[in-house]
């Protein structure tokens, strides 16, 4: 078996390095979403944007354990997964602005990010749409006798789709190296989970289909990472799929920069209670408590990341629009012959 990732050092040193790495990624995702939210408010971004703020620990904790040749499928709320898997920030931002140097050449927009070279084949905006694709990729990895793993991220809303249960069954039936990661953020667009699921307990549904499942605090990146590490190691050994239900909350509304409180969809009290449990704050408290970093050092990292994100945003905004014969004649519908 190959090592999961070279984390360097031992004991406290390695834990400190790991926490700093996880922290930087979560801060990068948050800064990106904040930077994009401002542009949506100003009308500079026209494409619908589903922000990941508040859920950073899930993508960060899982992707940190994956290798670059493992594949991750994602949903409409895709920015965090793309970045955590190692996607390029400039190409993400250019895509959200729908510009020519975007990761999908401006044809996909925020919901359709792709970067195959880092194991991110694409994100689907159809709820539960990429679950079965991940099943097939895991099947291919298994048939080719590699020890690569596929993972798929989706929300609690995806549990309402029939294809989810078909996919869970197939993954268990064929013992595939596939990690199902459910971001249970309590809402399916505007509807609370209680109006979507008669039984709101999600992990037992996966178990009923034959996939071992656990529920973890999705706002604690260390807990997500531990669960992911165990599941991924097992899948890599050829011991079948796993389902990780991560309890979390999206700070912003279903789509756009606002909070869905103004629309009467959620209460300010509920939002505030989750803002207090912000995954970045949780990690920072732990790092400070363990003497891995000072408040000042963490603030400096955040400032540095913010600066990078804002300068990248400027650069992305300067990128040209897709045009020219290749784009305006709508080529690329088919790939050319072998």
């Amino acid at each position: 078996m190959e090592p999961e990732k070279s984390h360097g050092g031992h004991g406290r040193d390695s834990e400190k390095i790991r926490m700093l790495r996880l922290h930087r990624m979560m801060v990068t995702i948050r800064a990106t979403e904040d930077a994009l939210a401002d542009e949506v408010k100003k009308g500079e971004i026209g494409c619908p944007v589903h922000l990941y703020s508040g859920e950073e620990a899930v993508a960060t904790g899982v992707c940190d354990v994956l290798r670059v040749d493992d594949w991750v499928y994602s949903s409409h709320r895709s920015h965090g997964h793309y970045l955590a898997k190692g996607g390029d920030l400039y190409r993400l931002m250019a895509e959200v602005y729908c510009r020519s140097e975007g990761c999908s050449k401006g044809r996909g927009g925020s919901m359709h990010l792709s970067s195959p070279e880092i194991g991110f084949p694409g994100s689907s905006a159809i709820v539960s749409g990429s679950i079965s694709l991940a099943v097939g990729t895991a099947l291919a990895f298994s048939l080719k006798k590699t020890n690569r793993v596929a993972a798929t991220f989706f929300g609690d809303g995806a549990m309402g789709e029939g294809v989810m249960y078909e996919s869970l069954n197939l993954a268990a039936l064929y013992s595939l190296p596939l990690i199902f990661v459910c971001e249970n953020n309590l809402y399916s667009t505007h509807l609370p989970i209680s109006k979507c699921l008669a039984n709101v307990r999600i992990a037992p549904k996966a178990r009923a289909m034959g996939v071992p499942a656990i529920t973890v605090d999705g706002n604690d990146v260390m807990k997500v990472q531990v669960a992911a590490k165990r599941a991924i190691a097992k899948a890599r050994r050829g011991d079948g799929p796993a389902f990780i239900e991560c309890l979390t909350y999206r700070h912003r509304g279903h789509v756009g920069p606002n909070y869905d409180v103004e629309k009467g969809l959620r209460s300010q009290e509920e939002l505030d209670s989750w803002l207090k449990r912000c995954p970045i704050c949780t990690l920072e408290k732990r790092m400070i408590g363990s003497n891995y970093a000072t408040k000042k050092e963490l603030a400096a990292i955040t400032a540095e990341v913010n600066k990078l994100v804002l300068s990248t945003r400027q650069e992305a905004k300067r990128c040209g629009w897709p045009h020219g014969p290749e784009e305006t004649e709508f080529r690329g519908v088919f790939r050319g012959s072998v």
Binding site: P121, V135, A140, F334, R335
Partner: protein, 328 residues
């Protein structure tokens, strides 16, 4: 050259494809069943094992998505659906995912997937075990649709589909299975997007698809006896359509009858007629174009109704006679 049945040629193509390339897998409902797929899959499981010949549970949506995900990851799967009727459950992975992927993500990954959809109708099977839904798929950008009609073409087209870098719907018709024809032993390819002239003539062009090519050929024989000289064009691929071949034939014969096993409205026949309608050939038409299709009705079960519902050589003969008779 050997003569063999259409189903024999299809079976041989599957054997050769699985033998030649370990990236090819066969996955779908009933690929080891004694009745789902006729004799088309005989001997495959014994020879290639259950890792490459996967008989799946009844989960059309997820199994189709899985075939798409396997294709993205580098395999060249052949995904089998025993009836097009059952494929409605699989529309999302085909339309939203496979057909969009290459364009939507900026020319990066593509989906080299062959979707083998079987038409299996007649025998009083009724509305949910009879459909020919090829036109719905042909409407989608990003998906190709082929409809082989002979033993030679089924073998060569299946190979082209498997080595195509894009998703293709390979529409297969169980009524073709016993038909015999010449088939080379070695492997070969019949190109996607190229039609063929099955019979040359000067009075009227019949464009017919799949099983109806054979009914149209019978009609052409009968009409020849009456002095009507039919040119029979088999497009073999309905998307992308070999429009040049059809246009040049119609320019010559100045008459067009299209015969397709789908429904009348918004179907393959409509598209073929529209292609002529937009072309220079429209100015040379000596008679209005005609389509022979299923009526806009679900398939009935009763044999007393089936004989009016499914079209045959007599229907074609009668309609062509009208088109030519009124204008000759």
């Amino acid at each position: 050259m050997r003569t063999m049945t259409y189903v024999g040629a299809l079976n041989e193509a599957l054997h050769q494809l699985l033998e030649d390339d370990e990236n090819v897998i066969l996955i779908g409902q009933g690929v080891t069943s004694p009745w789902y797929v006729g004799q088309s899959c005989t001997g495959l499981i014994e020879r290639f094992g259950d890792r490459r010949v996967i008989d799946t549970p009844v989960s059309e949506n997820a199994v189709t998505g899985a075939a798409v995900g396997a294709a993205l990851a580098g395999l060249r799967p052949i995904l089998e659906h025993p009836r097009l009727d059952f494929m409605y459950y699989a529309m999302d992975p085909i339309a939203n995912h496979a057909a969009n992927w290459h364009y939507m993500f900026g020319d990066q990954l593509s989906v080299p997937l062959t979707i083998w959809g079987i038409v299996n109708r007649g025998g009083e099977q009724g509305a949910q075990h009879s459909q020919s839904t090829h036109a719905m798929y042909a409407h989608l950008p990003g998906l190709k649709v082929v409809m082989p009609s002979t033993p030679f073409d089924v073998k060569g087209l299946l190979r082209s589909c498997v080595y195509e870098n894009n998703p293709v719907l390979f529409v297969d018709d169980r009524w073709l299975y016993p038909i015999k024809g010449d088939v080379p032993e070695d492997h070969y390819s019949v190109p996607i997007g190229k039609g063929t002239v099955r019979r040359t003539g000067k009075d009227v062009t019949i464009v017919a698809t799949s099983f109806l090519v054979h009914e149209a050929a019978k009609a052409a024989e009968a009409l020849a006896a009456e002095g009507i000289d039919v040119e029979l064009v088999d497009p073999l691929t309905v998307k992308p359509l070999d429009s040049g071949l059809i246009i040049s034939s119609v320019k010559k014969t100045r008459r067009l009858v299209v015969v397709d096993g789908g429904w009348r409205s918004y179907g393959a026949a409509s598209e073929i007629m529209a292609t002529i309608g937009e072309s220079a050939a429209v100015g040379s038409l000596a008679a209005p174009m005609k389509r022979i299709t299923l009526p806009d009705s679900p398939a009935p079960a009763s044999r007393a109704l089936e004989r009016y519902y499914f079209k045959n050589s007599e229907d074609i003969t009668r309609e062509v006679r009208k088109v030519v008779g009124g204008s000759k």
